[in-house]
């Protein structure tokens, strides 16, 4: 018994057209939401149309966007990575420990290089751990990444003894506060990361295989796809990008608080990916959609904060957006 949509007929083609229109509509949905948000802000938020506002938002959105790109890849394999925020905390806690160490004070440039490379490396190892659990032990992604979701932040706090580390290190802070052509450094970084991963998804074998694994794992395996390597790959990428995001947060604040870096980032990233059109059951990886999603999430946050709404209410609003976005996505599927 086959379902009726498979019958080759003029109608089925019109169905295809329908599906396409839907998709276009929902892609526009994201843009419409963005336009509405901008409009509302222009009308009600004081000083919204100022360069400073743009910079603040770019530097805030960068971390969400970077993590969302990794999350998009993981979700595309029908997985999920709840550990992104915790991995950010680990990376963010490590960096000051390194560049504030005696060794780094003695060798400033090597110290700076290490304080960027080592945290990212550690993040990659966390991703490898997640990936191996998922790919080789067959642990459900939610559970596998839940381990770091909780214990990762604990590790970060153990590393720093729960202390807030403040510092003044212009070299390192460039990651968070530097500008290129007048725009924040991390804005450019997001752009580079997005373009690179868009290329990976749409133009490379690895990207195609990510989508195949998420779209139909058995079929992927039968066509010679190294399913396990692909899965490990996306978790490693996701963790690596989270590590970078952790460094940015620390650099922006010139302070590292293991309890707060990347707190609830997994939600922002999942929301951004879903708002951007990533299907939770896998097989789709719209990288620029995720960036758009991140911008929307950030703007909502900004709108609420700039208009004096309390942090905790913003939490509730974000929960609402996530539910709504997934709901809309479910509706489109049917």
């Amino acid at each position: 018994m086959t379902d009726q949509a498979q019958t080759p007929s003029p109608q089925s083609r019109s169905l295809a057209m329908n599906g396409f229109d839907w998709k276009r509509l929902s892609r526009h949905g994201g843009l419409i939401a963005l336009a509405l948000l901008l409009l509302i802000n222009i009308l009600i938020t004081p000083n919204f149309l100022q360069l400073q506002t743009l910079f603040v938002n770019i530097s805030q959105v960068a971390t969400i966007a970077i993590v969302a790109v990794g999350m998009t890849l993981v979700i595309a394999t029908a997985g999920i990575d709840l550990s992104v925020g915790a991995v950010m905390a680990v990376a963010g806690a490590l960096a000051p420990l390194i560049f504030l160490s005696d060794f780094a004070q003695a060798n400033p440039s090597l110290g700076l290089a290490l304080s960027i490379a080592v945290p990212i490396l550690v993040a990659l190892v966390c991703g490898l751990f997640n990936g191996v659990l998922v790919a080789y032990l067959g642990v459900q992604p939610i559970i596998a990444t839940l381990i770091f979701f909780i214990s990762g932040r604990g590790i970060a706090q153990v590393l720093t003894n729960g202390n807030l580390q403040t510092f003044s290190h212009p070299g390192f802070s460039y990651i968070g506060t530097g500008k290129i052509l007048g725009l924040p450094f991390q804005g450019w970084l997001v752009l580079v990361i997005a373009v690179v991963f868009w290329w990976v998804v749409n133009r490379t074998m690895f990207g195609r295989r990510i989508l195949a694994v998420g779209g139909n794992e058995k079929a992927a395996r039968l066509t010679g796809t190294p399913v396990r390597r692909v899965k490990i790959g996306v978790y490693v990428i996701s963790a690596g990008l989270s590590g970078i995001a952790g460094l940015i947060v620390v650099a922006i604040n010139s302070a590292s608080d293991a309890a707060r870096i990347g707190n609830l980032m997994e939600l922002d990233a999942i929301a951004a990916a879903v708002v951007g059109g990533t299907l939770l059951m896998g097989g789709k990886a719209p990288i620029f959609g995720a960036i758009l999603g991140a911008i929307i999430i950030q703007l909502v946050k900004y709108t609420l904060l700039a208009n004096g709404v309390a942090d905790e209410v913003a939490l509730i609003a974000k929960a609402g957006i996530i539910v709504l976005a997934v709901y809309v996505q479910q509706g489109r599927k049917e």
Binding site: I142, F149, I150, S151, G154, L267, L280, E312, I316, G320
Partner: protein, 331 residues
């Protein structure tokens, strides 16, 4: 074909595997503690251990039911915090109002989860992640980010601090009654059978004409209610509603359920083994605390989270080894 695997896994886990393993581990740890530490079997330690862990047993029981349907409830930790604040406000009216009030508050959030999952068809982990945020936000809003002191004049704190015979706290008695009730529900009623059937195959269960949606609503509301009960115990035992408590508790609950032998993919579950799993995890912390007291290790509060994660990791490793061994047997 696959079914033979599933069957052998069940036999392995229930017959001679994990379920028995968890009881053996429990007994072994109690023996270890009793022999190594002077005050381990003292009334104070037993009573405070049971009091504290009654909260974890409660949320693990709810989680066990949710996981049996193939779902997950990540909101329990936030719900505990939320209800602890709610009941702190209710405490002047006494425990007879605060206890049902707290449970109802938890059930309300559970109902929201159920609505998201069943009616809006949002995957459970997203839905409950969202309510996790929402409940956390809610707790902070109504508490004004403060811990809310309870009314010490009413009988409210008797519940969380009082005990029977200096040994059995009221909280654990209530939770054990709940556990027995849920065990009966699971084994003896059709809603319980439906819950387990859903985990074995939701579509099949629906095709058989079983009330799938009702059973799913039941488990999420139950889980919320259990978290609500834990919230009451928290507020009454510590004398305050604590909006920032409960972080990572969902992990403890999941770990307890898994160590109790419930398949994470749903289908098989055991109420007694879940209770044992929660006690086991509690004992790990209890023993670490004793070691800490002896100065053997230095155990900062931050380690708690790390230990929870490692514990879950070990359980997962064991379970995947068990399932592999079982799969081998099945072949």
């Amino acid at each position: 074909m696959l079914d033979t695997n599933a069957f052998d896994l069940r036999k392995y886990l229930q017959g001679n595997g994990q379920s028995v393993g968890v009881w053996i581990a429990l007994v072994a740890m109690i023996l270890f503690g009793a022999l190594r530490y002077d005050n381990f079997t003292g009334a104070y330690n037993i009573s405070s251990f049971l009091n504290y862990n009654s909260m974890f047993i409660a949320i693990s029981l709810g989680m066990c039911f949710v996981i049996m349907t193939g779902g997950i409830d990540l909101s329990v930790g936030s719900v505990v915090a939320f209800t602890s604040v709610c009941v702190a406000y209710l405490s002047p009216y006494g425990i007879q109002v605060a206890l049902p009030g707290g449970i109802l508050a938890g059930m309300a959030i559970g109902a929201l989860n159920a609505f998201f999952v069943i009616k809006m068809r949002i995957p459970p982990f997203i839905a409950t992640l969202a309510t996790m945020l929402g409940a956390k936000g809610g707790a902070l809003v109504i508490s004004g980010r403060q811990t809310i002191s309870v009314d010490w004049g009413s009988n409210f704190t008797k519940f969380g601090m009082g005990n029977v015979g200096g040994l059995l706290p009221w909280s654990i008695i209530v939770v054990m009654v709940l556990a027995v009730g849920l065990w009966v529900v699971l084994e003896k009623t059709s809603i319980g059978r439906t819950v387990e059937a859903i985990g074995g195959g939701e579509d099949a269960t629906r095709m058989m004409g079983l009330p799938v949606d009702r059973a799913k609503a039941f488990v999420y509301i139950l889980s919320g209610g259990c978290a609500g009960l834990a919230g009451v115990i928290l507020a009454s035992g510590f004398g305050a509603g604590q909006p920032l408590e409960g972080v990572g508790w969902e992990l403890s609950a999941i770990a307890s359920v898994v160590v109790g032998g419930t398949l994470l993919t749903g289908g098989l579950g055991s109420v007694p083994a879940t209770v044992a799993g929660a006690l086991l995890l509690g004992l790990v912390f209890n023993i670490l605390n004793f070691e800490n007291g002896r100065g053997v290790i230095s155990f900062s509060a931050y380690w708690q989270m790390v230990v929870r994660g490692m514990f879950l990791f070990v359980v997962i490793l064991l379970q995947s080894r068990f399932s592999r061994a079982a799969a081998k047997q099945g072949a």
